[in-house]
Symmetry: C2
Subunit: 420 residues, 2 copies
């Protein structure tokens, strides 16, 4: 027998990036976790069922964070005076090596998972560390939260400290082990995760691309975050046409579904390849500011039809709540617009779409309340004076700009209310 969930409140979501769809004082019916419909009056056939009534509260799709590093969570907001490559050397690699220690990994990942869930991220694409056993722990801890995730063991066989670098063989073996163990999980699944081109030999990249195709597993990595890094990649991979090509020719750039974080300094050829081959580019504005990378030209990419999602990029980014990334994306687009008024600022609907339905498409049918979508939702409670005075659209904007986990009253994934 199918399981019916009926939830009442004000529903707001983005079918398209153009605008919010709003159902005030309505009933959403989910059957076996999937949205069946939203109704102003509850249809007769559900009249006998229990209604979970959230009254005057807002109900929105859960946040989808397409790029963050679980093993860096402790370090959020530390070392923010460094540029990318120095920051990795001086802070990040040092922390990541501790994840070989099981107790440490368990404590740190549990803390991460608690905060991620609390902040309203119900789907996430996560980098763990290069430790296979550490990554296994993260799979288990995320499974316990009830959220959906893609989790990647980080592949590195060069250009990083020895303590977090593996041999090419061990890196591939660990990757296959985790894929075989977790590929049939319902909510927390494996993703192939070369850290970024410079820390991977040609052999490792080729091996990972082969695995991606063989197991039909998605891929995530970093791309063109910083000018020094782009030049380094050119020096390391002299036969590649450009940075994207390093991944592309190894079957790691859209051959299976792919996320590429940052993608700030793409050449014309790379933009065309990104459009044709369809990786999702992940905008992580706080991180790009903090490690002094620059600003992704999001409006240009959207105009071209390139898919763009959002990431907190913990711990290059310092805030785990994806609403913060939405705000910073709007703010940065306003700065770009001040210099070039043909590039319109991003609207709230656009960044909300990026952080829900666009990101959710990586998980298939999540991030919206349209019929057939999984009911992944946040119930948002705001100050009584605000709820009384403002429209539901204004209240949502206020939550995105000023809210935090304290404003989230309930979290649902596939129709199941999660415990915190």
């Amino acid at each position: 027998m199918s399981k019916v969930l009926i939830v009442k409140g004000h529903f707001l979501y983005t079918r398209t990036a153009e605008k919010f769809t709003v159902h005030k004082d309505s009933f959403l019916v989910a059957v076996d976790g999937q949205v069946e419909g939203i109704y102003p009056v509850l249809p007769e056939r559900f009249k006998e069922k229990h209604v979970q009534d959230y009254g005057n509260r807002l109900i929105i799709p859960g946040f989808v964070d397409l790029h963050l590093h679980a093993a860096q969570f402790l370090q959020c907001g530390i070392g923010m005076t460094k540029q990318l490559l120095d920051w990795l050397e001086d802070y990040t690699f040092d922390l990541e090596k501790e994840f070989r220690d099981e107790d440490f990994a368990k404590s740190a990942y549990s803390c991460f998972a608690r905060k991620l869930l609390a902040s309203g991220t119900l789907r996430a694409c996560v980098f763990a560390s290069s430790s296979t056993t550490g990554t296994e722990l993260l799979f288990e801890i995320l499974k316990n939260t009830g959220i959906g995730a893609y989790v990647g063991k980080v592949n590195m066989d060069r250009n990083a400290p020895a303590c977090i670098t593996e041999t090419t063989e061990d890196s591939l073996k660990g990757t296959i082990y985790l894929i075989e163990k977790y590929q049939n999980e319902r909510l927390v699944k494996p993703i192939i995760t070369p850290r970024f081109a410079p820390t991977c030999s040609d052999e490792l990249l080729k091996g990972l691309g082969d695995i991606a195709l063989r197991y039909n597993v998605p891929v995530q990595s970093h791309l063109s975050e910083n000018i020094d890094e782009v030049q380094w990649v050119q020096r390391l991979f002299t036969s590649a046409e450009h940075y994207s090509d390093v991944y592309f020719k190894n079957n790691l750039f859209g051959q299976t579904k792919t996320l590429m974080a940052h993608a700030i300094y793409l050449s014309e050829d790379e933009k065309i390849l990104a459009l044709e081959n369809g990786p999702v580019l992940v905008h992580c504005p706080d991180s790009n500011l903090n490690v002094r990378s620059g600003i992704m030209p999001v409006r240009e990419y959207l105009n071209r039809g390139i898919k763009v999602g959002l990431g907190s990029d913990i711990a290059g980014g310092h805030k785990i709540g994806l609403n913060e990334a939405m705000v910073r994306a709007v703010q940065m687009s306003k700065l770009i617009n001040l210099d070039n008024d043909e590039l319109a600022p991003l609207t709230l609907a656009e960044v909300f779409y990026m952080g829900t339905k666009a990101g959710g498409s990586f998980f298939e049918r999540t991030g919206s309340f349209e019929k057939g979508y999984m009911f992944d939702a946040l119930v948002v409670e705001d100050e009584p004076m605000v709820a009384e005075k403002y429209s539901v659209e204004d209240r949502l904007e206020k939550f995105i700009y000023t809210g935090d986990d304290r404003n989230i009253l309930a979290r649902y994934v596939e129709g199941v209310r999660l415990e915190q």
Copy 2:
């Protein structure tokens, strides 16, 4: 008999903008609210006194917010798609008119004051609304919190909706009434507050400058936030040399101590006048992003020796915690640096200095723990795993970047622990 307070913990503050001064595991002694000294070992003469031991926690100066609008607090994070002049018309003025209603003003200001104190701002320079009775309520509510503040009734006699505009005479009369009533208060004092040049007639500006000199009361206003606004001011005040001169020739630009918020588009002459005449320019980076104003060239101003403080600019800015303004100031300075590497990014010490000692200088001897300064302090508690692993400097950086009111365990103003 003098009152002695002894507090133990890790003390961090900025004597200069160059670096943090750190006293780990030390005793701070305050006598009658003023810092007497910080000691690694408690001097014999205090041995009999009670020590308030905060253990492994950080103790830092309270935040000093030099620019925010109490009457806009409810509206934080709403209407963020607008530019300054539209945003004022469509959202802000509409809310401000409600402050003529005493019950509304009481509720809204109480909510504001609670959040301000919670967020760690212990000194603030606040715009109320044009309502004299509403402003009187804000004085009383802020007095009850125990924080220090300058509070200004907003002066406007033109170019704003009738419901929040007064006659020149009423605007001046209300200002004098509040000055005479509150000028001898210890912690919450009056400040003259022409909203900005365009909403004030020549007569009103002249009258306010006269009052400033007569009562020796400080001044706060807005300056050069936006290019449209600068052009408007030029059209309105044809005899003024530039925007700053509108205030200067009316004795509202440094003749008594003065705050000017934003100051983004200053001409060379204005920068020279700002340096010579010594108003504090208040950097409000979130607001400047949200209402699409631009970025204050902070490094350039600091290089010239111009005084710069920080403001949340609620509700152009959306975050009331001043640590958020510190972070955004660093982030924006990094963007400027990407375009011009002669303008070095602001360091954490520099923005912390701006938000504590530089801002505190407006209140005299607050914002630092040097001998003779008022003991205005926040006790900061962080995650046990973070406290265990990182240096006190790293922990402070993490609090600034990721912390909120939940991390503030105690608040002291002039040696008195405040109740929340």
